[in-house]
Amino acid sequence: MSKHELNDDSVVVIVGSGAGGGTLANELCQRGLKVVLLEAGQRQSTATFHNDEWFAFNQLAWLDKRTTSGNWRIAKDFPNLPAWICKTVGGTTVHWAGASLRLKEHEFKTKTIYSDVKGANLLDWPITLADLEPYYAKAENKMGVTRTNDIPGLPGNNNFKVMYNGATRVGYKTVHTGRMAINSRPREGRSACWQLGFCFQGCKSGAKWSTLYTEIPKAEATGKLDLRPQSMVLQIQHDKSGKATSVLYADKDGNHQLQKARLVCVAGNSIETPRLLLNSSSSMFPHGLANSSGQVGKNYMRHTTGSVFGVFKEPVHMYRGTVMAGIVQDENGMNPSRGFAGGFELETIALGLPFAAAFLNPGAWGRDYASLLEDFPNMAGMWIVGEDMPQESNAVTLHPSEKDKFGLPIPNVHYDDHPNDIAMRNYAFKRGAAIYDAVGATRTVEVPPYPSTHNLGTCRQSELPRDGVCNKWGQTHDVKNLFISDGSQFTTSAGENPTLTIVTLAIRQADYIAEQCTKRNI
């Protein structure tokens, strides 16, 4: 691993090492650029991961205090934990379940196609599916996505057997073990899936793609990467011309360091990314860096989610094997007759007993809840992931009074469910229950959303600078050497798990950055 000097102003500084930042770092190193990768968390490995839900949560999750507001149930159940994402090298690719789905053509054009959804701040993406297709192909190959590149699907576990039989009995047609960035065969030095379960706790077999042990070591092998774990970025600084010049961060000992930069790419996930821009305000950028539109932090999206668990007379042991072991795709299209715009996927999900107790009905206690938990071995589970509506009032803002240990305002995350989100969730709950009823469920349970893992949209791409924060390359409209490189740049959320698209956008952004650097435009 190489070491770049703090005063080296030829480096690209990337903030965050997850799906966006970790991928971008490798792609830029492969193109010969020098990269300083600043990651707030520590570096773990498959050897230090634990198949233990609480331990891993404390080891990997981003636990810095945040506040919440709005009518979403998260604000009641988890007022200081709006998001279940990671603070560790590899970011949330350590925690993600591996579902790798392309956005659909219509999902790039929701303002045009959904027409006016009252109260929604819809906008068409400045790019189309055709623009992304070549990069989706590269991402799928890089990540080893099953059912692409001649990679077989994963074998279904018990949880999938229940989903498959129920779903096909109610008439669904597209039901299979998904497109997963989990090796079904050994590939690129990583093993095939051991069916450990515990995908959320860091994959100890290394079968699941994570930048931690794919992109980052490849970038290190080029000699171009300087990865600095336990480095919390505090501020992006700029010169009189409004160009980003350096990044201020606190190192592992809490000492402030100032790293010069040719350009800066922010990939801190959709809460920390806008927070950093807002905390980088100056006399030239009084409302936050790259915020002439006023859209930094706005249009926060988190997908319309929820889970359905079914209890059966016979054992299922849903926790054995991959957590997202299968998918029902029939509901992911546009079909307004269901009473809402957008679509959703149904994907199996499983929790171990410790997290089942924590999440099946947060706050519940007493005989009925205990009796539900006694049915744990006979339980199957599925998760809803659907498109939620962007709303300008759903926003990440700086807390007016509370500060973190570095003296910077903590983020508040405000989210109100849109009526479209509620209609979709209620419909999906019923469909999920119907699937389990079709195979003899004795009880079905509608489970409210978990803290958000799909955080999106707070620095969105837009054709016009007034509508969003960055252009179709993730380059901010206001500061040409400042890029948004994570899910924050999503214009709308689409009804698909976002990681594949984040990786795809990062590969595409790397091409653009390399070209602009060669042309000396940046």
């Binding site: 198949n51 233990d52 609480w54 331990f55 404390n58 636990l63 205090k65 159940d77 988890f78 007022p79 200081n80 934990l81 077989p152 699907g153 074998p155 279904g156 576990n157 018990n158 999938f160 057997k161 229940v162 498959y164 039989n165 039901v175 299979h176 073990t177 079904s184 065969r185 899936c193 051991w194 069916q195 450990l196 379960g197 100890k204 059966f312 016979e314 054992p315 299922v316 042991h317 926790y319 054995r320 094997g321 299968g326 171990g352 007993l353 410790p354 089942a356 107790a357 924590a358 947060p362 706050g363 206690w365 007493g366 005989r367 809840y369 205990a370 938990l373 006694e374 744990f376 195979v439």
Partner: protein, 178 residues
């Protein structure tokens, strides 16, 4: 009675309450009341009955709940504010006109707990119990959860697809394992 086990505790926020996370589950014998550092015997007894009412499992004997009470005792020892919260909460539960909490009927206990379920005392006990009772391998065994399978090479050869009460999906939907 074995020597007291040491507990590693971390902190996180769930439901707005700091939750003690167990690194190690203490060993407790089913037939013995454990010794406590800060809790008085009557307080411990009250908390035992209370933790049983919060998550009542007939499959579990008192040992499982004594471990939760030991966690509460450890939390009390570490933090005077927690010690006061628990002592005051127990005292209030035991000051009812129906008599001591431990002596009440099941339904009386339930009613008493419903009356305090929004208090910091109840939420502290519940959150500690949630994170420790269901994180105890002895409880997993009793409730039918097998937990981690890393040491046996995962579930790939240990029943991940052994469900036989429904037909197997076709290979197009669910390919055979490698």
């Amino acid at each position: 009675m074995k020597r007291r086990d040491f507990l590693k505790t971390g902190a996180l926020v769930v439901a707005g309450t700091a939750v003690a996370i167990t690194g190690l589950i203490p060993e407790v014998r089913a037939d013995a009341v454990p010794a406590f550092a800060t809790l008085k015997p009557e307080e411990a007894e009250t908390l035992l009955k209370m933790t049983r009412q919060i998550y009542p499992h007939s499959k579990l004997d008192d040992a499982a709940y004594w471990k939760v009470v030991k966690q509460l005792d450890t939390a009390s020892q570490a933090d005077p504010a927690t010690a006061k919260l628990l002592a005051d909460g127990v005292a209030q539960l035991n000051s009812s006109s129906s008599g001591k909490f431990a002596g009440m009927s099941d339904n009386q206990q339930l009613d008493a707990l419903k009356g305090i379920e929004n208090t910091p005392f109840f939420q502290k006990v519940q959150s500690v119990e949630l994170a420790s009772l269901y994180n105890d391998p002895a409880v997993w065994k009793a409730l039918g959860y097998q937990g981690p399978a890393y040491s046996i090479g995962g579930y790939v050869h240990h029943g991940f697809n052994d469900l036989a009460w429904l037909p197997d999906p076709p290979e197009s939907a669910s390919p055979k394992p490698a």
